[in-house]
């Protein structure tokens, strides 16, 4: 079983080394790929010269979607079977990544999402953002006829065919909810398991509270446009 742990890093000098160490301990069988998305702090220096991990550097900041896309393309060009995504800010505890991968393999799923809201424990994000997430969930449930409690969670494990499909044409701007949408429409199996997240140790959130609703409107627009374009391909 060849596993790739994809760690995304944008200006995570304070946390990135801890996250890598934790991942090495918790997923000893996995290859670790760090995508440095054009960090302007010491992240790049901290990562260069390491032989125990694979590091890809973007020449400029592409945004989280771009970093995921690069990771997915690296995965699809090599013979990995499973991918698990871990954020470089320490938000996703690598100790729980194994749980995601287990469900993926046992249930033969294509995407397993680590959800904060199944058991409602750990860090649950701010109230304003939770409202936005809730609205998104209602719409997803309606369009996909499947309830997803934490559609914006980036703590996810993927099957090879899911990664290869997404690597072709990646939804850069709003990766998480659109990923679910694309995979679901292809009839891929998506499931959620409970995951306990930590409040990010360093870095800044990619979506500020004020931006949450702007983000939401754009996501809804993307989903609706895609939906109008017809059913399963």
């Amino acid at each position: 079983m060849k596993i790739l742990a994809l760690i995304l890093a944008y200006n995570e000098e304070r946390t990135i080394l801890d996250v890598i160490e934790e991942t090495k301990i918790d997923l000893p069988e996995a290859d670790i790929l760090v995508v440095n998305d054009g960090s302007t702090d010491k992240t790049k220096d901290l990562l260069t010269g390491r032989k125990d991990i694979i590091v890809l550097h973007h020449s400029f900041n592409m945004g989280i979607g771009g970093a995921i896309w690069t990771g997915f393309n690296f995965f699809s060009r090599n013979d990995y079977e499973y991918l698990v995504r871990i954020d470089g800010d320490g938000q996703h505890p690598p100790s729980q990544a194994g749980k995601l991968l287990e469900s993926l393999v046992e249930k033969e799923a294509d995407l397993v999402i680590g959800s904060r809201f199944i058991r409602r424990e750990g860090y649950l994000s701010s109230l304003g953002r939770r409202g936005g997430i809730k609205l998104l969930n209602i719409l997803t449930a309606f369009l996909l006829k499947q309830k997803i409690t934490d559609n914006t969670s980036g703590f996810r494990a993927y099957s090879r065919r899911a990664v290869c499909l997404l690597a072709e044409d990646y939804p850069f701007d709003y990766p998480e909810p659109i990923e679910v949408y694309i995979l679901s429409r292809q009839g891929f199996k998506i499931m959620e398991i409970s995951a306990k997240m930590r409040q990010r140790e360093g870095g800044i959130t990619s979506i500020s509270v004020l931006h949450t609703y702007y983000y939401l409107v754009k996501v809804l627009l993307t989903i609706l446009v895609n939906f109008l374009y017809g059913g399963k391909k």
Binding site: K51, L56, H57, T70, N73
Partner: protein, 122 residues
């Protein structure tokens, strides 16, 4: 034919649109601007040129559209063109962004495999 005498404004606007038209063609010849992006500009300047030569044209367009105040149809045409142009730029920018991302992604992967190969050979 032309009910209006040739005024200074008209001479100026003919010269202005003509020189812009020439400028665009020179830029295309010198390969400073891609043909596909220049086509809309040529259409715009050509329209300016025609409108400034045939002043009655605006009156005809106005009556055709049911606009009583002729300058309004001039503004309408102008805004229409500008709208098209900006829209066209959005398309071009989106396409370029997509391509730049693909390049940066490929570059990142290639750099890594290159440095790995160097390490292996040394």
């Amino acid at each position: 034919m032309n009910p209006y005498p040739l005024g200074l404004v008209q001479i100026l606007s003919i010269l202005f649109s003509l020189s812009l038209l020439v400028l665009i063609i020179v830029l295309i010849r010198r390969k400073k601007i891609r043909e596909e992006y220049a086509i809309l500009w040529i259409v715009i300047f050509l329209a300016f040129f025609l409108l400034s030569i045939f002043r009655g044209l605006i009156d005809n367009i106005s009556s055709l559209l049911g606009i009583r105040y002729q300058p309004a149809s001039l503004f309408l045409i102008l805004i229409g063109f500008l709208f098209l142009l900006v829209f066209h730029f959005s398309l071009v920018i989106s396409d370029m962004k997509k391509k730049i991302n693909a390049l940066a992604m490929t570059l990142a992967i290639l750099e890594e495999s290159l440095s790995k190969e160097k390490k292996n050979s040394s």
